[in-house]
Symmetry: C2
């Protein structure tokens, strides 16, 4: 599976926010992200896993400079939608593997997770597309994460 | 923002699984997805939101024909990693908007969520990349979802 990954990307200018226990009904995601867009906040990753007990959590990432404004939006919106609360973090970074045809290659994402696990790097958020697997990790882990992924996918060879 | 979306994609051959309350420490994601890969199960979306109380949930989607085998893996693995449990669903489908430069256009994802909300369609899972926003919805909602997204992003005009 190493042959299909063509690059490792990373982004240090990342902050994460998460709304917890949002009611799992139509219109909630719209309200959150329309409110953020109305303040011109650029959202990068949006991640929502499966629900539990008619509630769900929604996480997203933005640039660090947008965090103060995003927090103002979230402080207002979480009450408006009846969410349980929210958290945020700034000491995070994003690392991704990029390649073609990943969906027909079981184990590529698993290899990425294994590389990070071998370095004892905790994976905080995960989002995927057919050509990209992105993980949010702690900022202090980003250099090692990029390095181990280059090694894992043999991108460190000339 | 409507100008930058170039297409709406959908997939009906989708099943979703979610592991709940997995310990949030290095190696857990690796164990789950290495086990799935060892059974040649192709995983499409992998979604993990922010943690709560040192635990997290991990959801993923596969094709429906792989569900029996994936369930066997998950039944074994969830105990191995000390997760609280797992759920699965087959009456789901995936719909995505595809376009260039979405990350520099606040509100594109919000527009997608708004279109679905206007049709009273509940969004079960969300995953994004720079060129794609994907939502998992109930199977019975997929036709209306595709239709409303074509309308929202003016892709239904010749
Ligand atoms: C949780 C949130 O995504 C909700 N299900 C919605 O459709 O907006
Ligand atoms: C929850 C799971 O992703 C864990 N944090 C890991 O790194 O494997």
């Amino acid at each position: 599976t190493t042959g299909i990954i063509t690059g490792v990307a990373h982004d240090r200018n990342v902050a994460k926010l998460a709304l917890f226990d949002v009611p799992d009904r139509p219109g909630i995601a719209r309200t959150v992200f329309k409110s953020l867009a109305s303040q011109d906040i650029n959202v990068d990753m949006i991640v929502q896993s499966a629900n539990r007990n008619e509630h769900n959590d929604i996480s997203f990432t933005i640039t660090r400079n947008d965090l103060p404004r995003a927090l103002k939006v979230v402080e207002r919106v979480y009450q408006e939608i009846g969410a349980g609360g929210f958290t945020h973090g700034e000491n995070v970074a994003k690392v991704s593997i990029v390649g073609a045809g990943m969906q027909s290659n079981p184990g590529v994402a698993a290899d990425m997770f294994e590389a990070l696990a071998d370095e004892d790097i905790n994976i905080e958020m995960i989002s995927t597309s057919e050509i990209k697997v992105s993980c949010v990790v702690q900022s202090q882990d980003i250099e090692r994460a990029v390095q181990i992924l280059h090694q894992k996918f043999k991108l460190d060879q000339v």
